[in-house]
Amino acid sequence: MNVTIVDYYSGNVSSVLNSFKEAAKYKPDLNIKIKLSNKLEDIKNADKLVLPGQGSFKNCINSLKGIDGLEEALKEQVQIKKKFILGICVGMQMFADYGEEDGGSEGLGWISGTVKKIKIPIKFQENCKLPHIGWNGAGFYVVRGPIADKFTNRLGSGEAGDKHFYFVHSYIFHPKDIDNLLGETYYAGQKFMSAVIKENIIGTQFHPEKSGNDGLLMIKNFLCL
């Protein structure tokens, strides 16, 4: 299996690469080859894609769109060939139609919705900081179908979110269609989307590559889809 981590110069991706290599060790039978690349042939030859992302929405999307032919190649593999893609943090946010950060920019428009800054209500301002940094629980919905079930296998379900993942962000994706909501997390008195799914397109607001054993398990689940 060929897995391509899309390198569009969005900052540090070595953690993503290392964690995927580690998770792949659990599945030697799949003969997983992980590559960090932005070459169009590596996008086309991939069985699965990973879209990381750090920094601002605007920088990321501009950087991705700035690589000749990359957006079209991704679109073809994801929208037409329906290959699995995992978006992480801003990589996931870019699936949206629009991101409000830095004056706003258009996203890839693969999952309908907008990325907006987290609002901290006044009564939470003393204790709830921004960015939302650290380990928080995520609860996954159990009614999103077999792919979602496989992706979140052994990572808990329901509201409580007894599994913890590492977050670092100030913006959140608000999907238009509630059926795209895969997981939720509580912060500053509100619930926000921490994982999305739309058929073959999956994304997490948290960083599975930095979330210890549970994160590695999630990556392994993705590799097994």
């Binding site: 900052g11 540090n12 070595s14 953690s15 290392n18 964690s19 290599k21 580690e22 750090q54 920094g55 601002s56 301002q125 003393e126 204790n127 709830c128 900081k129 921004l130 960015p131 939302h132 940094i133 650290g134 380990w135 928080n136 629980g137 913890h164 590492y166 977050f167 670092v168 962000h169 509580y186 912060y187 590559e209 930095k210 979330s211 210890g212 054993n213 994160g215 590695l216």
Partner: protein, 251 residues
């Protein structure tokens, strides 16, 4: 609910751990990678390396350490000590560090914080503040606590937030190494001045000090070195203790 973080810190010199856990089953007790792995397996929420290599010739040793650690530890890794420029930051991030902490360079050239947070994102820029009490205020020290910049710690903290720091790592120079507890007065004053998370550091001698750092100092995360070394307390014990005191932690 967001959990409070426990961050063990390892001092690394010429690529070797200076203090450290004294476990018999370690193949190489001086190897930072093995020590970091023990901490992350034990539930550490992040790992911090402080590079105290004095000579310039050996400065590259930290890159190898970071690269090897990031292949073994899958929790966030912060690296500080001698981080002076965008070039240094880029190199550390490329080796697999998730965040860098900037100390002296941020005081001498605040623009480095502004530029690096724009280039790499605030999420990976931690500004380390070494503060010492002087009368009724705290002043910022640089060069490992040797030089007094005369800057007011509270104002400086705010300025660093404005420059794009994602977190502040605040060390009380009065308490560092004393094991009598954090300067919670300093921590809580800075925490209420800024909206970004604060990591408390300097002075931890027992598990109650960690509780104080969070409850009284209002820190989002607590950093400690010596209590985790020599097996005095494990990270797991620390977490269970915090949990028993009603502090949300990842167990």
């Amino acid at each position: 609910m967001l959990k409070n973080r426990i961050i063990p810190c390892l001092d690394v010199k010429n690529g070797r751990v200076v203090k450290g856990i004294n476990f018999v089953d370690l193949k190489d007790a001086g190897d930072p990678v093995e020590q970091a792995k023990i901490y992350s397996d034990g539930g550490a929420d992040e790992i911090c390396f402080l590079d105290i290599t004095a000579s310039n010739e050996n400065r590259d040793t930290i890159y190898d350490v970071v690269e090897r650690t990031s292949k073994k530890c899958f929790v966030p890794l912060t690296v500080g000590g001698g981080v002076r420029s965008i070039v240094d930051i880029n190199k550390l991030l490329n080796c697999g560090a998730d965040k860098v902490s900037i100390n002296t360079a941020a005081v001498e050239n605040p623009k480095v914080v502004l530029d690096s947070s724009k280039k790499f994102g605030s999420q990976c820029i931690v500004v380390a503040i070494d503060a010492k009490k002087n009368g009724d205020k705290w002043e910022i020290f640089t060069h490992g606590g040797r030089n007094n910049s005369g800057l007011d710690a509270l104002e400086y903290a705010k300025k660093m937030e404005d420059n794009g720091a994602g977190e502040l790592l605040v060390t009380s120079m009065d308490r560092d190494g004393t094991q009598i507890g954090y300067d919670v007065d300093l921590m809580s004053k800075i925490a209420s001045k800024v909206n970004i998370p604060l990591i408390a550091s300097g002075g931890v001698g027992n598990l109650d000090h960690l509780v104080d750092g969070i409850k009284l100092g209002n820190a989002s995360a607590v950093l400690a070195a010596s209590i985790f070394h020599y097996g005095k307390h494990s990270v797991q014990e620390a977490k269970e203790y915090l949990d028993s005191k009603g502090i949300p932690v990842r167990i």
